[in-house]
């Protein structure tokens, strides 16, 4: 009995093995990319964990330092002293960010010194020992000190 030979148009519908391999590869790559992209929609809105100090500090810096900025000279250099906790660096950076173009140096060797104590009270006796006297309490953890010998 003669075997059945499919006509050419039917033969072309069966893809050669390498075609299937290529198609699966392209489809899998597209799918992996798509899934990875769509996952962004379900993930947290940012790479930083919510408790990261930088997230909220940068956002509120301008608001928090607004009164102090008005009380300070527009240019020049002021000193800085602040909390010594985990957020101390972020607190300092946010002070510089909010008060620019005034330079804020992390040192008390200046005629005006900013006190940034959002989580504690400033150590007044220790500051007095360093000849710093309180000029103004901004009521939000921010203080302005001046060197006694420069008054």
């Amino acid at each position: 009995m003669q075997s059945w030979i499919p006509p050419p148009e039917l033969r072309e519908t069966t893809a050669p093995p390498h075609h299937i391999r290529i198609l699966i590869t392209v489809a899998a790559t597209a799918l992996l990319c798509l899934l990875s992209t769509l996952r962004l929609l379900t993930g947290p809105l940012g790479a930083l964990p919510l408790q990261d100090p930088t997230r909220e500090i940068a956002r509120h810096a301008d608001e928090r330092f607004a009164d102090m900025r008005r009380a300070l000279p527009k240019r020049g250099v002021v000193g800085y002293i602040g909390d010594s906790g985990q957020t101390s660096l972020a607190d300092y950076y946010s002070a510089q960010y909010a008060l620019a173009p005034l330079l804020v140096e992390r040192s008390i060797n200046h005629s005006l010194v900013i006190g940034n104590f959002p989580a504690s009270q400033p150590p007044m006796p220790a500051l007095a020992d360093k000849n710093l006297c309180l000029v103004r309490d901004f009521q939000n953890g921010l203080f302005l000190f001046a060197k006694k010998d420069n008054n």
Partner: protein
């Protein structure tokens, strides 16, 4: 109203610069998406003009911008008037098999919408950016430039060394320029600038691959980039790594376009020089890239014989030179010295410490597999699998752009490795907090070169 005018002026300057450099034998409307994707070059121009006009008044700044735009438009029409008599070159486009094209188009569309949505949501949730560098370096520098008036240099003194006063000013000066127009330092500006660079990078990967290798390749390249979660995260962080990656990619794309006989011309090489210069004006890593891209080109120049390459080397240097002068002025006359190369003896000691090489190599190896925060399969592993299964395309007649760019990218990576060896910071800390961002800078260019080298789905299906 002023901000709208600034945006229009910035886009128009960018487009005019790109069109002026485009091969004049092609119609002005050709490669439109590619040209639009390169338009953030206008932001680079904006930052340069702002920096140069810092001692001048606001009205002088506007006049300088209008004059520059006029100059660019005039040079565009001058180049067009000298249009070569050669018939309009045929733009090479890969034909796509219908349903592969449709499937990829659909996936690409979904990716774009999802990426846009998540990027805007991130920007709204983090108006001051994500992480330290956004507000402690880039936006702080922008504030010094905008608020500082005649004392703007105060922000670049060693008193606040932690803010890296030696970092170049493309991003801060560009942002400050828009603030100047708006009359306030709204955090919206750096946020939108970050989004523009992110999506221009996606647009550039897609449009350049579509132009050079066909639409399917463009869709795949764009999807791999958008599918890299770390790219999306950093895209809205307001750091300078994504803009730097954009200028790396722009330089490499322009060099590779030069390989296409229909697009060959000195204008593209000059543009590549300008974008490499903008990279150096964005971050210090850009200076390394600029050096290696010139070096890689010089090697090709010497290997192929002076005559064959002289038409492309000089225009590139012409594009780079003005930017190098500005960067040199900033580095030598304004910025405090960086910490990286400050102690020669310490550098020598570190170069001779074998354990530093081992630790850095370990981190590089680990990052190669984990880079991008991919879900399920790491992006680099996925691309390696794709290469293995789809295969490399047949070697073309002229691929000097692809080859020199691949070499340049490799040497840039080697340069990053060397920087870690001599870093003045704690090595573990430095690697932990910056290596993934250095990889990200190279990632868009690596994706572009990868899809330039592998076969398109149509080629693979046609040739087996």
């Amino acid at each position: 109203m002023h901000v709208v005018a600034a945006v229009l002026l910035c886009c128009a300057s960018g487009l005019a610069l790109v069109c002026a450099g485009w091969p004049r034998q092609l119609p002005l409307e050709s490669d439109l998406l590619l040209k639009v994707s390169l338009a953030p070059c206008g932001f680079g121009l904006f930052s340069i003009i702002f920096f140069l006009c810092l001692p001048l008044s606001f009205s002088s700044l506007i006049l300088a911008e209008i004059a520059l735009l006029g100059l660019l438009v005039a040079s565009l029409f001058w180049a067009r008037s000298r249009r070569a008599t050669v018939a309009t070159a045929k733009v090479r486009r890969g034909k796509t098999a219908g349903w592969v094209h449709t499937g990829l188009l659909g996936s690409f569309g979904v990716s774009v919408i999802a990426s846009l949505y998540s990027a805007v949501a991130r920007m709204k949730a983090n108006p001051h950016g994500l992480g330290w560098d956004a507000f402690a370096i880039w936006n702080l520098h922008a504030r010094f430039l905008y608020r500082g008036g005649p004392d703007w240099k105060d922000g670049f003194t060693p008193l606040i060394q932690w803010s890296h006063p030696d970092y170049p000013l493309l991003l801060p000066a560009g942002v400050a320029h828009f603030w100047k127009y708006g009359g306030n330092d709204s955090p919206l500006v750096p946020g939108i600038v970050a989004l523009i660079f992110t999506f221009s990078t996606v647009g550039l990967v897609f449009s350049s691959l579509s132009t050079l290798r066909g639409r399917s390749q463009g869709f795949l390249g764009g999807m791999v980039l958008m599918g890299t979660p770390f790219f999306a995260e950093q895209g809205s962080s307001q750091y300078a790594d994504v803009p730097l990656g954009f200028f790396f990619l722009a330089t490499i794309v322009l060099l590779c376009l030069q390989d296409d006989p229909a697009r060959r011309g000195s204008g593209l090489m000059a543009m590549a020089g300008v974008t490499a210069g903008f990279a150096a004006w964005t971050k210090n890593e850009g200076l390394l890239f600029l050096s290696v891209i010139v070096l890689a080109h010089l090697v090709m120049f010497v290997r192929r014989g002076m005559n064959s390459r002289k038409q492309s080397l000089w225009p590139m240097l012409t594009g780079i030179l003005p930017l190098l002068v500005i960067i040199g002025y900033f580095k030598l006359r304004v910025a405090a010295t960086g910490e990286m190369f400050s102690d020669g003896n310490a550098i020598l000691h570190k170069l001779l410490t074998a354990s530093r090489y081992w630790e850095t190599a370990r981190w590089f190896g680990k990052e190669l597999f984990l880079f991008g925060h991919w879900w399920l399969v790491p992006g680099t592993v996925m691309l390696a699998g794709y290469y293995f299964l789809v295969g490399k395309k047949a070697r073309g007649v002229s691929e000097s752009g692809v080859r020199s760019s691949t070499i340049a990218l490799g040497f840039t990576l080697a340069g990053y490795f060397a920087i870690y060896i001599i870093t003045p910071y704690d090595l573990h800390w430095h690697l932990r907090y910056s290596l993934n961002r250095l990889f990200l800078q190279l990632w868009p260019s690596a994706i572009f070169l990868f899809f330039m080298l592998v076969r398109t789905p149509e080629q693979a299906l046609g040739n087996g």
